[in-house]
Point group: C2
Chain length 188, copies 2
């Protein structure tokens, strides 16, 4: 059974270190680590968003390698996570695809390392996810993060992971921690 | 203030996919992601353990690059995490170093993807960590995981992260999730 939470990795629009808006390159470690987390926590799908044709072809090639090609023969445990991967040219395209599937508009949740007015807490989002009839799409930025415009246009912005005076996790670590907080077994 | 929890990334002794005991190669993404998590959650230190001289030199070079060299100029946010890195030739050497520093034997905690007799729960380990006078050293395996011998010789073996019928997280994701469960703010 697919969950009502979808994960999105955004490569455009993204800030670079000078806060200019760019399209970042796809990183193979992001794909592997996030797909494996997505499968571990049973998310509905993992969208990789990039407008660059060469990058789309690269992701398609990587996915084929691990689901059908030599990668599958080498390590069959990657097939299930990689089967969750979808590729979209933009956030809007992914939103339309999920909404069509659910026959209702998917609600978007932006993430980032700094607080944003009207942040939703982990606890509140976890409660929202309990309503299995509503699909949610949580967006993670590569590079130096999602643009303010993406955050402003999202239905929710999730509160940041609080560091001890340091907030520079990799996107791979942030996805792992956030999926565990939202979908992991609660027993502590 | 350094925490009483130390993180260790083990490259030997490690299982490969045929369950033979090997020394794995150091992965640059492991170093970056785990050091950034270690700094985020305020751990006492991050030990990278490998017996291979060439790998030790590689890690030393990477650490220098991000704390003093061109990496620091490019991205100064890596200096603090990389300053937490220590290199040891074996688990025993790291254990001795931490124990000497604390003037009491550090307690080791092995991790892995499958249950082990006498597993300690996340909740129990979190409570143990509250006693700030006792140092703990949590060990993560690369490759296909820590050997049974390492687990049997550890003071504790932590319960695995429960996946939905899938338990193949990357070591980078496992470290992120486990540090968040042990040291993250609890509010949910």
């Amino acid at each position: 059974m697919g969950s009502n939470l979808y994960v999105g990795l955004v490569h455009h629009p993204i800030y670079d270190k000078r806060k200019e808006v760019v399209a970042t390159a796809v990183t193979s470690f992001d794909i592997h680590d996030i797909a494996r987390c997505a499968r571990t926590y049973g998310v509905g799908g993992f969208y990789i968003m990039t407008p660059l044709e060469s990058q789309i072809q690269l992701v398609e090639r990587i996915v084929r390698h691990w689901t059908e090609g030599g990668g599958y023969a080498y390590n069959p445990t990657r097939k299930e996570p990689f089967s969750l991967i979808r590729i979209s040219r933009s956030i809007d395209e992914a939103v339309r695809e999920i909404s069509d599937q659910w026959k209702r508009k998917v609600e978007t949740v932006a993430t980032g390392a700094s607080p944003h007015p009207g942040n939703v807490s982990f606890r509140s989002l976890r409660e929202l996810l309990d309503d299995q009839k509503r699909p949610f799409f949580i967006l993670f930025g590569t590079g130096w993060g999602l643009t303010e415009e993406v955050k402003d246009h999202s239905d929710y912005v999730l509160e940041p992971i609080e560091g001890r005076g340091y907030n520079h996790l990799s996107v791979r670590s942030a996805v792992a921690i956030i999926l565990d907080r939202l979908l992991g077994r609660r027993q502590m």
